[in-house]
């Protein structure tokens, strides 16, 4: 069902095989220019990692992609159609682009199952039965099926993040954005979340992941994007980025973070 409605008959511009295409995007907060002339895309089935030091604009880019921030300049295309200009419905677009937050952001008033059901029922208009069935399916996938009755505050960080991933998956988006999904976790819980993400990647889910987990970026992604001071410095396959980066800035960032 969600697959059918995502295909647009008449693309206005760009390439329809690209789920999301960012074109000359810029973002300023007041006079602070945070993103500058970003060009970048995500194709079906790709796993793209975004790396870069803190403050380089990674979160802002992700938040622009699902319109939690409004870009100052440029455009975002969904299957070739502009979502900033034209008749594109923002809330409809957002159901195709899921988001997993650093701080989990599970709905505190709802238990784990309800967290995964509410969007399906209230936004996608699925019946409660179907929604619960799907929710259970994804909760099992992330190993949270036994905690469906728990409220968020009764869960550990790792459990919260896995439930949040299930909530996003239950909407069956075309691409799932992850903003440093393991950065708020205690070290012993990082592994369980990364394992879920590896499983998702190998099951063919399209993912865009902002991460400081270099091993994950290297082993799981098809492409790695290195950002610095609001621009994309390098966008290439992991082998190139990690072994033979073309830019000095990429090399020095990796030397620093990999302690080599």
């Amino acid at each position: 069902m969600s697959k059918v409605k995502t295909i647009h008959a008449t693309p206005i511009a760009g390439d329809a095989s690209k789920i999301v295409e960012v074109v000359h995007l810029g973002k300023s907060f007041g006079s602070n220019e945070v993103l500058r002339d970003i060009d970048f895309d995500v194709r079906t089935g790709e796993v793209v990692s975004i790396i870069g030091s803190s403050g380089s604009g990674k979160s802002t880019l992700l938040r622009c992609i699902n319109l939690l921030e409004t870009p100052t300049t440029g455009d975002i295309l969904h299957h070739g159609q502009s979502i900033l200009h034209g008749a594109h419905k923002v809330n409809d677009y957002r159901t195709h682009v899921g988001m997993v937050f650093q701080q989990f952001n599970l709905f505190n008033n709802l238990n784990v199952l309800q967290n995964c059901v509410v969007g399906q029922v209230r936004v996608l208009g699925r019946s409660k039965e179907i929604a619960e069935q799907k929710a259970m399916q994804y909760l099992e996938k992330v190993g949270m099926a036994q905690f469906i009755k728990a409220k968020p505050r009764q869960l550990s960080g790792g459990q919260k993040q896995r439930a949040a991933i299930a909530r996003a998956l239950a909407m069956e988006p075309e691409v799932l954005l992850f903003d440093e999904p393991t950065s708020a976790l205690d070290p012993e819980m990082v592994g369980e979340v990364l394992k879920v993400m590896r499983d998702l990647a190998s099951s063919g889910l399209t993912m865009l992941v902002v991460t400081h987990e270099m091993q994950f970026a290297r082993e799981v992604s098809n492409r790695v994007v290195f950002m610095d001071k609001g621009v994309i410095v390098e966008d290439d396959v992991p082998e190139v980025i990690f072994n033979t980066p073309r830019h000095e800035r990429t090399r020095s960032f990796l030397d620093r973070i990999l302690d080599r």
């Binding site: 699902n66 939690l68 409004t70 900033l84 923002v90 809330n91 409809d92 677009y93 957002r94 159901t95 899921g98 988001m99 937050f101 701080q103 989990f104 952001n105 599970l106 709905f107 505190n108 008033n109 709802l110 238990n111 199952l113 309800q114 059901v117 509410v118 969007g119 029922v121 209230r122 936004v123 996608l124 409660k128 099926a145 036994q146 905690f147 469906i148 009755k149 728990a150 409220k151 505050r153 009764q154 949040a164 909530r167 996003a168 909407m171």
Partner: protein, 273 residues
């Protein structure tokens, strides 16, 4: 004759109190009933008004919002701001007189005192509740709103299914407080002859000029009402907080069981119905 009257009328404070209760008991009961009715209805309607106003006042205006919608939202926000300022900035006793006589003189609507009373308490409470609820909404972590938006919820859906259930739980004590205040403050409606407890007491006191004794009884009746409501609200809050533990569903790897959480701070659920 003089002697007979003296024998029939009480002489001590407590004798007067008993005499008043015996003779005017039903008047106090009617007054108390009307007071409770106005206070509860007014608080409930005021809560609904406050909810509506707060939801409108928290509509985000983005650069991408179409201009006509932007204009309507901005204008609504200004008007609602004026409403809040006016009704919080003037005494309810003055509002009562203005609305009661003004509606007849300006609009030709002859409100009954009771209807006017409920109207005034509702609008007045609405102005306070709007600010209380807005505070409640704004105290909810931004991440909750962002997560709701990220799955495609509109502002209204975000409010109804995610933010308000949490905000309302948080402002329940403040709402209870509004009800208590209203039970006491309906007394100002005696100015437009609403037959609430204060008005009834004044009538009773006027007959024998026993203001102290009558209003002593009146105080006790008010106290009973507010105390009872306080206890009921406490019970309600505890009930809404729900059980302190949750059940783990059995699976191949983990046996079923119950987890006890001591710091558990449950919020009432709305979704998943």
């Amino acid at each position: 004759m003089m002697y007979a009257l003296a024998a029939a009328t009480p002489e001590t404070f407590w004798a007067w109190v008993i005499f008043i209760i015996q003779n005017y008991g039903s008047l106090f009961l009617i007054g108390a009933r009307n007071t409770m009715f106005i206070a509860i209805t007014g608080t409930a309607v005021g809560f609904a008004i406050g909810l509506l106003v707060a939801v409108v006042r928290t509509i985000p205006i983005k650069p991408s919002t179409p201009t006509p919608i932007k204009a309507v939202v901005r204008l609504s926000k200004v008007l609602l701001g004026v409403y809040i300022e006016v009704f919080r900035g003037t005494p309810m006793i003055v509002q009562a007189v203005v609305v009661y006589y003004g509606s007849l003189q300006l609009l030709g609507i002859d409100l009954s005192a009771m209807v006017a009373g409920i109207l005034i308490v509702s609008i007045n409470t609405g102005a306070y509740m709007a600010e209380i609820i807005r505070g409640g909404i704004e105290s909810i972590d931004r991440g909750q709103t962002e997560a709701a938006q990220a799955i495609g919820m509109s502002h209204v859906k975000t409010m109804v299914f995610v933010i308000l259930p949490q905000a309302i739980r948080n402002i329940l004590p403040a709402t209870g407080n509004e009800l208590i205040v209203n039970i006491k403050d309906t007394s100002v409606l005696n100015i437009i002859s609403v037959t609430e407890l204060f008005f009834m007491s004044k009538s009773a006191a006027g007959t024998y000029f026993r203001y102290f004794e009558v209003f002593f009884v009146t105080s006790v009746v008010y106290l009973i009402m507010t105390f009872t409501v306080t206890q009921i609200l406490r019970w309600l809050e505890r009930k809404l907080d729900g059980p302190e533990n949750y059940t783990v569903m059995g699976s191949q790897t983990t046996p079923a069981g119950t987890i006890h959480v001591h710091h558990g701070d449950h919020r009432p659920g709305l979704g998943g119905k």
